[in-house]
């Protein structure tokens, strides 16, 4: 099957120190209608990988190497206006920290509507109806369209981001820890909504999460990152039930159980000796 997104040897460094690699030689590809979950250490480069794919790295950082091919086009060679054409329309993105990516002085309804106007030319009553429909899909009363971000709860803001990201029914959704502020029942509702888009639109999804329960429920494939590198990839059953890399094994060992019987413990890094050459 042809992949919709193919990332090859993606490498990200800081501008001040080109030898300080934050993402090293990351390669993977995504298929339409499938979900790939990225898991891994806090600070291992998951968010930077996602931002780099979208051409949204901050000014201090630079992609020093690698290609990002989306629908046969190398996004790495695109300029800003070409990227803007694709972002929000063909590729939707949910950022890790909603409050910092929402504009505090615009109502959430306006912000959800922006991409519908820019990319699909929606206006007036049709626009209002679509915004109301999106809010309803993420479980927020449509009357809240007139609220400003700081008048919403953490989970409501996160759901506004989700509504924005799927507004134009993208072919690829990149979601960076999109359900961390949602209780499990609302989370289940959102995951179902994304799954419907996956089936109906054949949408591909790149889903960054720390929650192995979510991984078990939604992933087709799993990518495991550690200190800027991919240490393991595979089908979800494979990675969860029969992990190969010592980091993956050690990480899975730390997953807490719902009965509270298993002892809480951070990872034992004994496996690291001789494993990684940094």
């Amino acid at each position: 099957m042809t992949s919709i997104l193919s990332v090859k040897n993606l490498t990200v460094a800081t501008k001040v120190n080109a030898s300080r690699l934050l993402v090293k030689n990351v390669s993977f590809s995504l298929q339409p209608g499938k979900t790939t979950c990225i898991v891994g250490e806090s600070g291992s480069g998951k968010s930077l990988t996602a931002l780099s794919i979208m051409g949204l790295l901050s000014k201090q950082l630079v992609q020093t190497q690698g290609s990002v091919v989306f629908q046969e086009q190398n996004l790495t060679l695109f300029n800003n206006s070409q990227l803007r054409e694709i972002r929000g329309k063909k590729i939707g993105m949910i950022f890790q920290e909603p409050m910092t990516s929402l504009n505090p002085v615009l109502t959430v309804g306006y912000q959800i509507g922006e991409s519908l106007t820019v990319h699909l030319g929606l206006k007036g009553a049709a626009l209002k109806a679509r915004i109301a429909n999106l809010l309803q899909q993420v479980g927020i009363p449509e009357s809240r369209a007139d609220s400003y971000p700081d008048e919403l709860s953490g989970g409501q803001r996160q759901r506004v981001m989700i509504a924005m990201s799927i507004a134009c029914e993208p072919l690829l959704l990149i979601a960076d820890e999109p359900t961390t502020a949602l209780d499990v029942t609302v989370q289940a509702q959102i995951l179902k909504l994304l799954d419907e888009l996956k089936t109906r639109m054949n949408m591909a999804m790149l889903f960054i999460t720390h929650d192995f329960g979510v991984v078990a429920d939604i992933a087709n494939d799993v990518v495991v990152m550690f200190r800027g590198e991919i240490v393991e990839t595979g089908a979800v059953e494979q990675v969860l039930s029969n992990p190969q890399h010592p980091y993956t094994k050690a990480l899975l060992d730390c997953v807490p159980d719902a009965a509270g019987k298993k002892e809480l413990k951070p990872m034992d890094y004994a496996w690291l000796k001789g494993e990684v050459t940094t």
Partner: protein
């Protein structure tokens, strides 16, 4: 069994929201509807519940960061609203908060060393050298490096920023820690490290914690008591073990059965 360090009685809080197609109308949302809680000294009280049910509002109201409509909050038996002067100053240090949105709560122009050390400076705790070493040691305990003190918030990952917020609160050795989703951005290993740190501090200095979380697995491990909220109301409360085994309210039952990954984990347990 033990003393109550923080108690809230009949808290009520209503927000006025713009509404209606043109934004001219308003509706009232009752974010806290007669909420009462008790936090026992040296224990952890988890607050779980629907997104938008009033958990963060409760946290802010407990700390008087937001005005209440009615209700009282007592810290060590004293009404917070009546406190002033030295009493209030000391209490501010004793009650610390970790906010839900870490980035938004960190000053972008301050280095991490300054952010974490600011409280020590304001409260004049220890000499400059002692303050520095306390900051370093707390950063290490949350899994950040000594050289990180020179960096700015934007140079960190989401989970690293979350830990900066935790370090900033804990460095003051508070009596009560109110934390709003403090481990939501952490991998399960770092998460365990932070939860164990909280348990250590609980043993060392009888830290009492109000722990708001959506992660019911984490709550099962860390909390002694639990409060379940839905639409501004407490719908169920009690000891954690009891409520997990015997949830009496439909909403609590729904929550527990919606924990993700249960099918897979059951399968694994069977294979084990």
């Amino acid at each position: 069994m033990s003393q109550i360090i923080l108690e809230a009685k009949n808290l009520n809080k209503t927000y006025t929201q713009r509404s209606g197609r043109f934004g001219f109308g308003t509706t009232l949302v009752q974010a806290l509807d007669n909420v009462s809680i008790q936090l026992r000294t040296g224990s952890t009280l988890a607050v779980v519940g629907e997104s938008g049910s009033g958990k963060s509002t409760l946290a802010r109201c407990l700390l008087q960061l937001q005005p209440l409509e009615s209700g009282e909050v007592f810290f060590q038996g004293k009404d917070l609203a009546q406190m002033s002067g030295e009493d209030l100053r000391v209490t501010r240090r004793d009650l610390q908060m970790v906010f839900q949105d870490p980035f938004a709560s960190l000053n972008p122009r301050m280095r991490i060393g300054e952010i974490v050390g600011e409280g020590l400076l304001i409260h004049g705790l220890g000499s400059r050298d002692e303050q520095k070493s306390q900051v370093l040691s707390m950063l290490n305990r949350v899994g950040l490096k000594s050289e990180d003190v020179k960096k700015y918030p934007h140079e960190f990952s989401g989970g690293q920023r979350q830990r900066i917020g935790i370090a900033r609160a804990l460095v003051l050795s508070p009596k009560v820690l109110i934390c709003d989703e403090p481990v939501s951005a952490l991998d399960v290993s770092v998460q365990a490290q932070i939860l164990l740190l909280l348990k250590e501090l609980q043993a060392e200095m009888a830290l009492s914690t109000l722990f708001i979380s959506h992660d019911l697995r984490v709550v099962r491990h860390i909390a002694d008591d639990i409060v379940v909220m839905n639409r501004g109301k407490i719908v169920e409360q009690g000891e954690v073990a009891e409520i997990y085994e015997n949830p009496t309210q439909t909403y609590t039952q729904q929550l527990l059965s919606a924990i993700p990954g249960q099918k897979h984990l059951r399968k694994q347990a069977l294979n084990a």
